[in-house]
Each structure stands twice: as C-alpha cells, then as structure tokens.
C-alpha cells in the first residue's frame, strides 16, 4: 500500500506547492528509512534504490525545490551512497546547499561534501569560495562548520587562499574556534607539509593554550612532527611530562572524565609522544620516569579504559631508556593482563608481551603455560597473536617446535592475508635457525605448498639465492643442494598436478642446476620427469619457461629425449616459450656451444658479464660510420630536451658516444633472479642484516636486568649447553605449576612448554655473558657486494688473512647471526690446548707473528666456552681520561677524525674507538683502557672485516697494560660497499692468571673511505667523458635554506668529503675518490624542488654507494 503512495508521490512532484511539498518530503525520508528496514532481498533493494535515485534526480532538477527539501534529499543521497548506489548528480547540489542554505542546511551541505567527495574531486574547487565566506562570517556557528570541513577535506592547491584566515583563528577568543583552527592546520600539514612550515611557532602557542581542548588538538600535530624527527622536539619533553602529570593528577575539568578516569585518550596520546621522545635518549627518559610511575599507580581501577592506559604505559616503559624498577612494574602489569579471564584483556596482554619480548625474550618464560593454553585457544585472534609472540622468541633450539605449530595453524587457516604473512615468517625462521638440511628443505616444501601461488616472490628468490650463493663451505652447500634434488625428485614422482606454480618453478630450477650432483640419479630420468610436467594442462606458461630452461641445462648429450617436445613447442602460441624452444634446439645441436653458454657447476659469482658490452663495439662503430646517431639513454634524451632551450655553457657536453647506464646482468641462473641482481642489492643485503639482528638490541643487553642474568648464567655452566637449557626450562615450567595434577594433558603441555621455551632463559644471558651456546644458524648468506659486482668476479676479501671468521664465529652479540660456523666445544682437548697456551703465552706473544694470532683464534672459542665475561654498565667510565683523543700519536692528532665511541667493556677492560681520516687510508683507532688497579698482561687485539684490506697495524699486542693504550689499523676499501661491519676480539690475562677475551664490533661506511678529489673544471670534463658507469636520480633539495643548491652541496660536502669543483647557476659539479684511487664525479642540477644528481665512475658499484649516502645525508639533514 505504502509503495503505491510512494509511487504516486514520485510521479507527481510538481503538483505540490512548496509548503505541502516540504512536509511530504520529510515523509519521503521516513518512507525511505521504513522501506530500507523492510528490505528482504537484494532484488528489492535494487528496485528501491533505482526508484529513489530517479525521484531525487527529478526533484533536484526542479526549480521549486527549497533548501529545506534539498537538505532532505542530501540525507536520502547519503543512504543511497551508503548502500553502494552512486548519487553523483547530487554532489553539485551539496556544494550549493553549503553555499546558500541556512545554518542547518549549510551544515548538512558541508557534511554531504565531506562524505561524497574525495580529496582530488574537481567539484571541490567550487567549495573554496563558500569556505572563504564562512570563515569571515560573524556567525560563530558558520565559522565553526567551515573550519570543520577544512579540517576534513580541502583541495591542496587552494590552501594558500584560506591559510591566513585559518591562522587568524588561532587567536580567536572562543576556544572551539581555536581548537578547530588547529585541527584544520593539522590537516594542511598532512596534505601539504611545506605550506605550514612557517607557523610551527604558533603550534607551540596552541600547545600552551589555557584551554585543554586546544592543547589536545595540537598534540596530533606534535605526534606527527615528533614521529618524523624526534630530535627537534626534545626540548618539549618537559612540557609533555608536565601536561601528563596534570591530567593524571585530575587537574582537568570534570567533564573530561570518562567513567571517572581523567581524559583517558589524551593520556594515551601523551604516552605515545613520550615513547617517541624517550627512545634511545637517557636524559629525556629520566624526565619521564616519575610520571610513568604515577600513571601506573593511578590506573588501578578495574575498567577497560584503565587497562588501555596501562597497556600504553607499559609499551612506553619498554620503548624508552630502561629503568629496572619501572620495567618490573610494567611486566607485572602485563602479567596480570595475560592471566586475566577477560578475553579482551588477555589479547592485549599477549600483544604487549609480543612487544616486550623483542627486548628481553626471557619475559616469555614467566607465562609459558598461559602461552601454551592460548596456542590451543578456540579464538582465532588469540591463536594468531600467540604465534606472533612465538615468532619473536624463536631460537635455534625451539625452532622445530614453533615452526611446526605455525604450519599446523596454516593448514587449517583459510584467510589469504594471514597465510601470506605467516608463511613468510616460517620461511624466515627456517632460513635463520634450521637445525639440518632435511628439516630445512622439508619446511620449505611445506612453505611452498601451503603458501601456494599467494606466496610472495621474494620468499622464492631468497630461497634460490641461498642455494645458489651458498656459504663459504662448498661441501655443506652441495649437501644441501643434493638434499633438495633428492627431495624434489620424490615430490615430482608423486602426483604433482595440484602443486603451486612457485613450487614447480623452484623445483625445476634446482633440478636444472644441481641434479648433476646426484650421481645415483640418471639424468634421463630427471628429464623425463620434467618433460612430463610440461604435458600437464594446469601449469602456467611462466612455469613452462622455467621447466624448459631447466631442460636446456640438462639436455646436454640427451637430445633424443627432447626432440619431440621441441617439435611441439616451436609452434607454441607463447612467444617466450617458442624462443626458449628455439634456443634449446640450437644448443642441443652444438654441444660445444652448449658447454660454453651453460658450463656445468660453474660457481655463482664467477659468471663473467661484460657490462660495457664491448663485444658490440664493432657493430656500433660500423653503424656510426654509416651515419647513425649515437645512442643516448632515455634520461639523457629528456635532459637534452630541456637543455635545448638555453645555451649550454658547460665545459662538458652531453653528446656522449655510448652511454651504458643500465647494463643489467644477464645471468644464466634463473629468470627471476636476474632482475634482483641488477637492482637494489644493497637494500637486500641490508635487509638480510637487519632481519637477523632483530631482537638483540644493545641497550637492553647492558642494562637493567643484569642481576637476573648472572644467576641464570651460572646455572648454565654445564658441559652440554643444550641439556642445561632443557633442564632449566623444565624447572621453570614446573615451578609455575599449581599442586601436582598428574593428568596426561598437563604433562603434554609441560613437555610442549619445555620444547617451546628452551633456550630463552639463557639466550639473553648469552648476549651478556659473551658466549654463544645456541648452535649458530646453518645458512649463511654471503655478504653481497653493493652492486652487481659479479662482473669483477672477485670474492670478498678478509682483512685478517691468518684466520677466517672462525674465531669470531661465536662472537655472540652483534654480528654472529650473520657469520657463524658450528662451534663444537670439546672440553678435554680444548683444556689441554688452553693450558698449553697459558704456559707458552708470554714467549709466543713476544713475536707477534701470524702463528700466535692463529692460536689465539682457536683459543677464543674455548675461553668463550668456559669463562664468563660479564658486560657491566660503564661503572668504570671515570678511570680513564675524559678525552681519549689526547692519547693519539702526535702525527694523528691534527688529522680530521670522528668522535670517540665506546665499543664494549668488561670489568677489567674497556674499549673505545675513533676513525681518523688519513689521506691514504682510514685509521681505525682502538683505545684499550685498563679499568682495574692491577696490570693486565698479554693483551692481543684481532680485527676481522670482510671487504676491507688492512694496510698496516700498530700496537695490537701489548705485554702489560696499565692505564690506556692505543692500537690502530689502517684500512682500505677496494670494492665499494655501502656499509662494512668489522668484528674483533681482545684477549688478555688478568693478574689472577685468568685468560679472558672481549669481543667488539662496529660498522664503517663508504663515506669513511672517500676523500675529496681536487680537479679543475676542464679536467672534470675530460674525466666525465671517460667513465662508463653512471647512475642518475633525483634527490631531496634542502629548500628551506636561502640558497638551496649551495646548502645542499655543502651538506653533502661536509658529511661525505666531496670536493665542490664548480657551481654554475643552478648546476654544481663535485668530485671525490675512493681510497684505492677510483674517482667518482657528481653532476647536480636543481630541477624544481628536487636535485637531479648524475654520478659517474669507472667502478660500477661506486656511484650506487655514494648515491646511497647522499640520499641518507639529505634525508637526515
């Protein structure tokens, strides 16, 4: 019935005068709402919406429609849009309504605009005038709504038009106007940060506003600003602390309370700001301790909102510089969350625990039984969060159990996003901690089958790279490859049509590359298996290419098997496939060519690539002689287009004969890998580094929890570390259990606990005690030289030729996860060796030869196995002179140098270092300070760094150390790398006759190894033409300075030791050289708000390295 009425009304809009019409329209909204609530099917919904839209269309077109009616139409349009039916014809009327309506209509008009239009919508421009008018209105309500809409959505380009008006409002007498103005500026800051840079001072005023609302809204801006550069706002730490103190102390008006808690969301916001300011900053953190303590104390009420505050508080306490007392309270608080019967609280507790175990894995031990329960929880969310927690505490001893739990979860999980995410983590853990080859390959098989085709490409790439590059030990690598081959042959023999494409690709690549290692397997069989794969209809054409590629590698001398296949494929629709088939066909007919193109078992890094494409020289010169235009890379062509407009006065031209900017490596290994090789290998290697180091934060290692660790450490002084850990883990579990309930279930859980949490208690002590108990990761990725340096064929050098990474193998703390070798501690034999060294120590040390070094190298691992060296916070700091640089030899004092940084220390010895930039090398100066009153004897320093060469060294063996001694290494970098890390050991004997050793590590970057290259502009021009490797990129220009180019170049010059050769108008040229002599030239040109930088060098990797540091410098500036 009502439908009929509705239809009649829609059909006759013009028949009512405006008075009765308005009433009817109100009815219409009611009618619409009623119809919507009565909808029973999608079909009905579609009909209703169609009807509604057409009726609205007619109404808006009618000249008789009043503003009041229009307002109703807007609300109806909101309904249509909300249900997914676009009502774009109303958008323009929304803007009109905001422009012409009375207050309520205006507000609805603005509301409709903010709901319907996106930031980039062109109609938005029509709003600008309305906003301008309303901002100047005398009616506060209008000003208020204009500011509200500006704070939500505003065209970026029109900000300057309203900015002065909004700024004025910051000093408006009404607090609500000031508050909205601050929020509008916040929105401007988000969409165009440059536009509001000049009013940062006013933000401070807003922060100090007497009205709490205005202050609160300014916090949004500050949170954002501080997140971007915490160092610029350290001076405000005190203010934020004071504000929080007042809020917590209940100084705000009572209506800010929520369930008797003063402004909880404001407290949370402030806590977030404090955590950003206090991170890695002891002095800022100290200001906060009191108020954090008070927050914890005050939030004792049993209400969700106080828990939310406590959670934020605990997180802050664990982010800023640690204070033992607070950490303990925070842990207690998290503990009560985890144990809570309230499920939401339990979740939050797990989330907090996941966060804090990154700093101290031991914390998970206290809650192991709860964690086990959560792991089997019926709630998916809880389970998922628990796995995240387990991921963070995984180590080499519990990896198999944890990975199994994750895979079990994945098998029943149906959410794609979760699968991709978790599978990546499993792959990461497998690579990091795999106990043996078979487990690793099996786990990766699971990863590939479960991850399916959702799997991210880099999981595949990482895995293949690991196999291909291998470690330093060829035997181990071949073992792994052999295992993979065997495993894949088994898989392929089974039913494999359901296998994901990624997995098939991995298998075919591995078989193609390594099946020859498996002597027991007939190559013909492998070929048959792969050919069978091609017959399947389910495999994608990309996979077909992989398979065919593998066949190409395998088919040598076995051409008879693939002829049929070639026949059918050479008429394939897929061009790539056809080409591959053609190539295979040719190669199969010429075995010599085959051998030459695809040599068997050639090591990964010996692939010679002629990156200059010199073999084409003849062709090019012929073409040039025949009148062809010289080749220009695309960016250069663009450059020239710009240049053509003005006369170029530069000494060096752009007409270069051949430019080889982007030679990528054509490697024979795999289609997917090649793209990676040519590209951002620096990022990749860095990524590998950071991933592996996660969870071993130094700050947390040295402070706060030391007393606990000493006790665990002593407990673990057993011959077999694994056994010791096992028992301690079990004890921990047992202690926490209530009176013995012997049910089987409980026992199972305990068993699980001991296997999950094994190694946790001692892992943190590992880092502190300087011994590595956990077996090191199996797979070691070779450090990748910065760019595609496989062309040079050079492998990494070690600066310490006398001993490999073995002595640093167990260098626990910083670098060890990256470089390891299984350390087998054999107490009996080592003890004898130890004694032997002790007895002969002094004589050996007198001739500080290579032999001694080697011996010491072996020695270290034993020392680490038995003696404990505790790292204590610097209680001994004041024992040596404040300024260590005073101790530098006279000839070094005058040279430019870095600040002295502390490397490491133990109760008797403390190490600091500083870099001295000599013209011909980098001097790494190590200060050894004896912190005891007695002399330390037989001190020997060893330094290892791959990728660097030690030119000379002095003072690394000291017979008797009292006070401070200086030792220095002159280092050279031959192949450019963005960052190189070094590790080292100091071994020494104390008065008591104990032999101790202390490990240290650090990083050096390219910038340390480059020096200014002084050339004239003419010389520069000549050099420029002679270099073939170039890189071009736009960098950030420091636009806020008066002379942006000058400021930017200066910033680069200062941090990177570049020489500014010349600056002409908007262009500047700079030069530098690597210590080995290889120069690098930079050409910078201001290009709008960016700096277009073009680097050239004879070394392929050098421009990339320097560019990386330029980027970093400017980003930090």
């Amino acid at each position: 019935m009502s439908d009929v009425v509705e239809k009649t009304l829609t059909a006759l809009p013009g028949l009512f005068d405006s008075q009765t019409g308005a009433a009817k329209i109100t009815n219409r909204l009611k009618q619409l709402v009623k119809s919507i609530t009565e909808l029973t099917s999608k079909h009905e919904e579609e009909n209703l919406m169609k009807q509604e839209l057409s009726s609205m269309k007619e109404q808006v077109a009618s000249p008789n429609t009043t503003m009041k009616q229009m307002k109703e139409i807007m609300v109806r349009a909101m309904y249509c849009e909300m249900m997914g039916y676009e009502a774009s014809f109303t958008y323009i009327h929304a803007i009109k309504l905001a422009q012409q309506g009375g207050v309520l209509e205006k507000r609805v008009g603005y509301l409709a605009v903010s709901l319907f239009l996106s930031e980039s919508h062109e109609l938005l421009l029509l709003l600008v005038n309305t906003v301008l008018k309303d901002l100047q209105s005398t009616n506060l309500i209008e000003v208020c709504m204009a500011l509200t809409v500006v704070a939500q959505i505003f065209p970026k380009d029109m900000i300057p038009a309203v900015l002065p008006l909004v700024e004025d409002k910051l000093s408006h007498p009404k607090e609500i106007i000031r508050r909205k103005a601050v929020l509008a500026l916040y929105n401007f800051y988000l969409i165009a940060p440059n536009q509001v840079q000049h009013i940062h001072g006013k933000f401070r005023k807003a922060l100090c506003d007497k009205d709490p609302g205005v202050m609160t809204s300014s916090l949004h801006i500050y949170l954002q600003l501080i997140r971007e550069s915490p160092d610029d706002y350290k001076d405000l730490t005190g203010s934020f602390v004071t504000i929080l103190k007042q809020v917590v102390g209940g100084k705000l008006p009572i209506d800010y309370n929520y369930h008797n808690v003063p402004a909880p969301w404001l407290q949370i916001q402030l806590l977030r700001i404090l955590s950003l300011l206090g991170r890695d900053d002891q002095s800022a953190s100290e200001l906060m301790y009191d108020v954090l303590d008070e927050s914890l104390r005050r939030a004792e009420m049993n209400h969700n909102i106080t828990y939310a505050i406590l959670y934020e508080c605990a997180k802050t306490i664990y982010t800023i510089s640690p204070k033992a007392e607070l950490l303990e309270k925070a842990v207690k608080c998290i503990g009560s969350f985890v144990l809570s019967p309230k499920i939401n609280l339990k979740y939050l507790g797990l989330k907090a625990l996941t966060y804090v175990v990154q700093h101290d894995t031991k914390l998970a031990l206290q809650h192991q039984m709860t964690i086990i329960e959560c792991l089997d929880h019926s709630d998916f969310t809880i389970k998922r969060e628990t796995l995240e927690l387990l991921f963070r505490i995984t180590n080499a001893q519990n990896v198999t159990v944890i990975v199994k739990k994750m895979l079990d979860f994945l098998r029943v999980c149906s959410d794609d996003h979760t699968i991709i995410h978790l599978v990546g983590k499993v792959a990461e853990l497998a690579e990091k901690f795999a106990p043996d080859n078979s487990w690793f390959i099996q786990t990766m098989n699971d990863v590939f089958s479960i991850g399916g085709d959702l799997l991210q490409q880099d999981v595949v790439n990482n895995f293949l790279r690991l196999l291909a590059e291998g470690s330093d030990c060829k035997e181990d690598d071949d073992q792994l490859r052999l295992y993979a081959v065997g495993s894949y042959l088994n898989v392929l023999k089974g039913n494999c049509f359901h296998l994901p494409q990624h997995f098939l690709q991995v298998m075919s690549w591995v078989l193609g590359e390594y099946s020859h290692l498996q002597e027991s397997v007939d190559q013909r069989e492998v070929i048959c298996l792969l050919t069978k794969l091609l017959d399947q209809k389910t495999i994608s054409s990309e996979t077909r290419v992989w398979v065919l590629f593998a066949l190409t590698k395998l088919s040598e001398d076995q051409t008879d098997l693939i002829l049929d296949l070639l026949e059918s494929l050479s008429s394939s629709q897929d061009t790539v496939l056809r080409q591959q088939a053609q190539e295979l066909h040719h190669l199969s007919q010429d075995s010599q060519l085959h051998e030459w193109v695809l040599p068997h078992g050639a090591p990964w890094d010996s692939v010679e690539v002629d990156s200059s494409l010199s073999f084409l020289d003849g062709y090019v010169s012929e073409a040039l002689a025949a009148g062809a235009a010289p080749y220009k890379p695309p960016h250069q062509r663009q450059e020239e287009l710009c240049e053509e407009r003005a006369l170029s006065l530069e000494p060096y031209g752009f007409n270069l004969p051949v430019s080889l900017s982007s030679c990528s490596i054509t490697d024979r290994q795999s289609p997917a890998l090649s793209s990676e090789l040519s590209g951002n290998s620096a990022e990749l290697s860095q990524k590998a580094g950071t991933l592996i180091l996660e969870g071993v934060k130094r700050v947390w290692g040295k402070d706060g929890y030391l007393p606990h660790k000493e006790t665990t450490g002593e407990g673990a002084q057993v011959e077999d570390p694994a056994a010791a850990l096992q028992t301690s883990g079990q004890q921990g579990a047992a202690e926490r259990l209530e009176p013995p309930d012997q049910s089987q279930q409980k026992e199972d859980k305990q068993q699980l606990a001991s296997s999950l949490f094994v190694g946790l208690g001692a892992q943190s002590s590992t880092s502190l005690l300087g011994k590595s108990e956990a077996p090191p990761p199996r797979f070691r990725r070779k450090p990748r030289p910065h760019a595609s340096s496989s062309s040079s064929g050079a492998s990494e050098r070690s600066s310490d030729s006398s001993h490999s990474s073995r002595s640093t193998a167990d260098s626990f703390l910083y670098g060890n996860l990256l470089e390891e070798e299984p350390t087998t501690i054999k107490p009996s034999s080592d003890v004898t060796k130890h004694n032997h060294i002790r007895a002969n120590g002094p004589e050996q040390n007198k001739d500080a030869g290579v032999a001694v070094e080697t011996d010491r190298g072996v020695n270290t691992s034993h020392i680490l196995g038995s003696d404990m060296v505790l790292v204590r916070p610097n209680t001994i700091q004041d024992k040596y002179p404040a300024d260590l640089t005073e101790l530098l030899p006279a000839d070094l004092k005058e040279l430019p140098r870095s600040d002295v940084i502390s490397l490491t220390s133990d109760p008797s010895l403390s190490l600091s270092s500083c870099r001295v930039f000599r013209d011909e090398s980098l001097l790494l100066v190590i200060f050894l300070s004896n912190c005891t009153d007695t002399a330390i004897t037989d001190v020997a320093v060893q330094l290892t760094c791959e990728g660097l060469e030690t030119v000379s060294l002095r003072g690394n063996v000291i017979e008797c150390l009292e006070g401070v001694s200086v030792c220095h290494y002159a280092l050279m970098m031959k192949d450019p790398q963005t960052n190189v890390s070094f590790t080292g050991t100091v071994s020494y004997q104390t008065q008591a006759g104990e032999t101790n050793s202390l490990l240290f590590s650090g990083t050096l970057c390219t910038a340390d190894f480059i020096r200014p290259l002084v050339v004239t502009t003419e010389e520069y021009g000549k050099l420029w033409l002679s270099f073939s490797h170039d890189v071009k990129q736009n960098l950030k220009l420091l636009t806020d300075a008066e002379d942006p180019l000058g400021a930017t170049l200066n910033a680069l010059k200062e941090t990177l030791q570049l020489h500014v050769v010349d600056v002409i108008d908007s262009e500047g040229i700079l030069a530098c050289s690597l210590l080995s002599g290889a120069p690098c030239l930079l050409h910078c040109r201001v290009n709008g708000a960016a700096l277009a930088v073009w680097l050239r060098s004879p070394l392929p990797a050098l421009p990339d390295c320097i560019l990386y540091h330029c980027q970093k410098t400017l980003a930090e500036h």
Partner: protein
Amino acid sequence: MIKFLLMVNKQGQTRLSKYYEPVDIGKRAALEADVVRGCLSRRKEECSFVEYKDYKLVYRQYAALFIVVGITENENELSIYELMHNFVEVLDKYFSRVKQTQIMFHLDKVHIILDEMILNGHIVETNKNRILAPLLALDKMVES
C-alpha cells in the same frame, strides 16, 4: 589510526558508514560484507578484535546493532573499544535513550556528532559536552 567506522545490524545491513581513507564506492559493499561476516560469526566469549587484511577490526554489540571500527596495527584496541562506548553514550545523551530507528531517521546528526569526535582517523574530542555543543547550538538556532 582509525580507517573506518561502521554501524551494522544483526542481518549485516549497514546503518552508518564513515571512511577515513578513500575507498571506492564500488568496493565498499564488498568490504562491509567481509567485515560484517568476520565479526558477526564470532561467539560471545571470543575477543572483540579480529584481524582483517592488514588491519584490525574492533567491534562491540549494542542490542541489535554492531559498531565495527577498522584500525591500524599500532592503534590501541581496547581504547577504541571504549571509544565506541563513549560514542554511544554521547548519542544516548543527545537522543535521550538512543534507538536504532533514531539513528536511521537522524543520520545527518549522527554524522555531525561523529565528525566532532573523530577527524581524519584521529580521536579529536571525547568530552561529551564539547562534542554536543556545536550541534545543540545549531538546533537552538533552527528553533528560534
């Protein structure tokens, strides 16, 4: 950060939606259906937070109405859970005992209230008097 806020009834029909990040109108329906399915299928004793794609959903039930908020990983779930309650309390105060039908008939006003509380995905005001002040002033002007 808050990505969106939805009010959905037990049948999964959207009663209010507000996005703080542009989402294509064509994709909203699918997203809402997904979100609703994720939340409504959960049992009472399970926690009020669900993982959804790369963000989290926080939901809370009021009689036949669910409020669902999508947030980023770094947001504090429990504080959002309580924010919803604050929102409902504000609605309750304005409509004196809010009902689902009131929300539907006054969709515009509910949006105006929400705009005072959340802006660009950030919580900007939680003081009930201040949240309602602009709307009450507006009502007064219309009356007079």
